[in-house]
């Protein structure tokens, strides 16, 4: 239980750092750390498949995409960085308070201490879950990816027309 609590607190701190840090690169890395910690929690909750997906997609693939995109950007000047840092602290100072309040509310409520794993989910393997139980969600995910492809083509492709 102590380890679980430590992991949960670490996730909150990692997420806070991700939002409050002034460097985009550090934010991307903070997000990767948050995802990795969530993956560990998922492993501890007897959901290894969810953990593997979280680790490979969120902590791995998405971080790689973010870092590649950030490397293409022009870095900020020292003056801009300080201004951005101040604005960020001004904007996000209530965040730790809100998070602390939410944690307090949840600790006081009757949330079960041991998470129940659904029996039907335990009995099925990933193939069954994806292709039989949740095939509609898989279809939805395919359509979202398709929308993402069109979005990338439309929003990020440079126009061929010369000015």
């Amino acid at each position: 239980m102590i380890l679980d609590k430590l992991l949960l607190i670490s996730v909150v701190f990692a997420a806070l750092w991700t939002v409050m840090t002034r460097s985009l690169l550090k934010a991307a890395l903070g997000l990767a750390v948050t995802s990795a910690l969530i993956a560990v929690i998922l492993f501890r909750l007897d959901s290894p498949l969810a953990g593997v997906f979280e680790l490979s997609v969120c902590a791995g693939l998405i971080t790689a995409v973010f870092v590649s995109a950030i490397s293409l950007m022009k870095p900020l000047t020292h003056k801009e960085t300080i201004a951005l840092s101040r604005a960020r602290i001004k904007k996000y100072w209530p965040l730790p308070i809100i998070i602390s309040a939410v944690i307090l509310i949840f600790s006081a409520s009757t949330v079960p201490t041991s998470i129940r794993v659904l029996p039907e989910a335990m009995e099925q393997n990933v193939q069954n879950v994806l292709w039989n139980s949740r095939s509609l969600d898989l279809f939805g995910q395919i359509v979202i990816v398709l929308a993402g492809v069109f979005g990338t083509v439309i929003l990020f492709r440079e126009s061929n027309k010369k000015p």
Partner: protein
């Protein structure tokens, strides 16, 4: 058979994007037009009682509990009609062939998302299809890559992300408390443990997420920017159906079939509905931008739908569903008119416009029908749905709210009359002496929507007996 409503459009996109040179790009409009017509036909043919039950034994492609009832019929029909209208407007307002082709693809994807939302009976699948709709909507808003449109899309993404966090948290809590995600399982669990803090928190979070998606006050910040900055065809789609399906239909479905009419839910719906109704109307009064005024008007009209639902009585719920359909039609009509004005004059600043009815008689006349229906003038469709909502408010004991709803109707008449006077009546400005009416196809979209508004209103007894009465049963 129901699976066809999401499978056919996907098949359509795959065929459209086959590497067949320019053939598919050129025929994309005709293809999508046919696809939406089939979608409307499928919705109509599935209407309970219209065809024999043999259709229901056809095994669905997915092993999922797709379902279809009277509410699904009305919403799927609205999706088909508004998507078709948006497609036609896009044909005349998006000049570049490539852009138009991409728009058609995204329009079809949005349609898949909306049809999925309407037919699923599982809360996680509902979330997945809401995301399909939202992702396509972000891209559609930012489609022209102009700074204001990007800003509108960004605000929509931000607010939608907050709604997503709320809904996902709610789904997790629901799974924790009920052990399942199908509507039936959740409903049974909620009724057996209605006092559970976790259940109350989950329902509250989900409903708040839907308020954001529906652009209701005080969660409306993104809506005026998104509606007014999006390209004309996208504004029609967003205002006509996307926001309604994502926020309002989902709310109606979940409250009536899953969460139930608890006192807390009814109170929240009534309050948010009445505040949205009033705020939207007052804000619309102060606008000079045609599309922004229509955006605030949408907030106000959606307030009527939510207030009707909040009464918790059969008449109120029927009125809400009927106003959902009517608003999809007449608000699409008004946005089509705004698109026509923008295309022909190059502006939607109402202070610069005037006397356009002289040069654009079809747009002017159909706008008149749209605004009269929005204001609830008899015998147009909007009158009947508003009347049902007001009577339901009165009969359920919320007499003050009923009076506010009547007064808001007067405010609606005031701001829409101001719009009609500023844009279509009065003296035609010299700079607009040479403008012409929009193309026949463009005008036809407005005429069809206007005829629907008149037809549904004039033949209200038939509409009530055939389609609305079923909800009482």
């Amino acid at each position: 058979m129901l699976s066809l409503l999401v499978l056919l459009p996907l098949l359509g996109i795959i065929i459209l994007n086959l590497p067949l040179g320019h053939v598919m790009r050129r025929s994309a409009f005709v293809f999508a037009f046919g696809l939406f017509l089939i979608q409307i036909a499928l919705a109509i043919f599935h209407y309970p009682g219209l065809l024999s039950s043999r259709l229901y034994v056809v095994k669905t492609f997915f092993n999922a509990d797709f379902a279809f009832d009277h509410l699904s019929f009305i919403v799927l029909l609205s999706i088909g009609i508004v998507s078709l209208t948006s497609l036609v407007v896009g044909r005349y307002t998006i000049q570049n062939d490539n852009d138009r082709f991409n728009f058609i693809n995204l329009l079809i994807i949005a349609s898949i998302g909306m049809c999925g939302v309407v037919m699923v009976r599982d809360i996680f699948s509902l979330y997945v299809f809401l995301e399909v709709t939202a992702v396509s909507a972000f891209i559609l808003i930012a489609f022209e890559k102009q700074k204001p449109a990007l800003e509108g899309a960004f605000k929509y993404i931000l607010m939608s992300a907050i709604a997503t966090i709320m809904m996902l948290s709610a789904i997790a809590l629901i799974l924790l408390a009920t052990g399942g995600m199908s509507f039936d399982t959740i409903r049974q669990a909620i009724f057996s443990s209605s006092n559970s803090f976790i259940v109350k928190l989950a329902v509250g979070l989900f409903v708040c997420g839907l308020f954001i998606k529906g652009g209701l006050v005080p969660f409306h910040g993104w809506l005026p920017d998104a509606y007014s900055q999006a390209p004309a065809a996208v504004s029609v789609l967003l205002a006509g159906i996307i926001t309604k399906v994502s926020g309002i239909y989902t709310l109606i479905r979940l409250v009536t079939a899953v969460f139930g009419f608890t006192e807390g839910i009814k109170g929240a719906l009534l309050l948010i509905g009445i505040v949205s109704m009033l705020f939207g109307a007052f804000a619309a009064l102060t606008q000079n931008n045609f599309k922004r005024m229509l955006a605030y008007s949408s907030i106000s009209q959606v307030g009527y739908i939510i207030a009707g639902l909040g009464t918790g009585v059969a008449l109120g719920v029927i009125g809400a569903i009927f106003h959902f359909f009517n608003h999809a039609i007449f608000k699409s009509l008004l946005f089509v008119n705004a698109a026509a004005v923008e295309k022909q004059t190059g502006t939607i600043d109402m202070d610069k416009l005037g006397g356009l009815s002289e040069r654009m008689p079809v747009t002017g006349a159909t706008s008149l029908i749209g605004f009269l229906s929005t204001s609830g003038i008899p015998p147009l469709a909007g009158f009947w749905s508003k009347l049902m909502i007001i009577i339901a408010l009165w009969m359920s004991g919320h007499r003050a709210y009923a009076v506010i709803a009547i007064l808001t109707s007067v405010l609606t008449l005031a701001y829409l009359l101001t719009m009609q006077r500023k844009v279509f009546f009065g003296k035609l400005a010299d700079s607009f002496k040479n403008i012409k009416e929009v193309e026949a196809g463009f005008a036809a979209a407005a005429i069809v929507l206007a005829l629907l508004t008149i037809g549904v209103g004039v033949f209200f007894p038939l509409v009530f007996n055939f389609y609305l009465k079923a909800f009482i049963r």
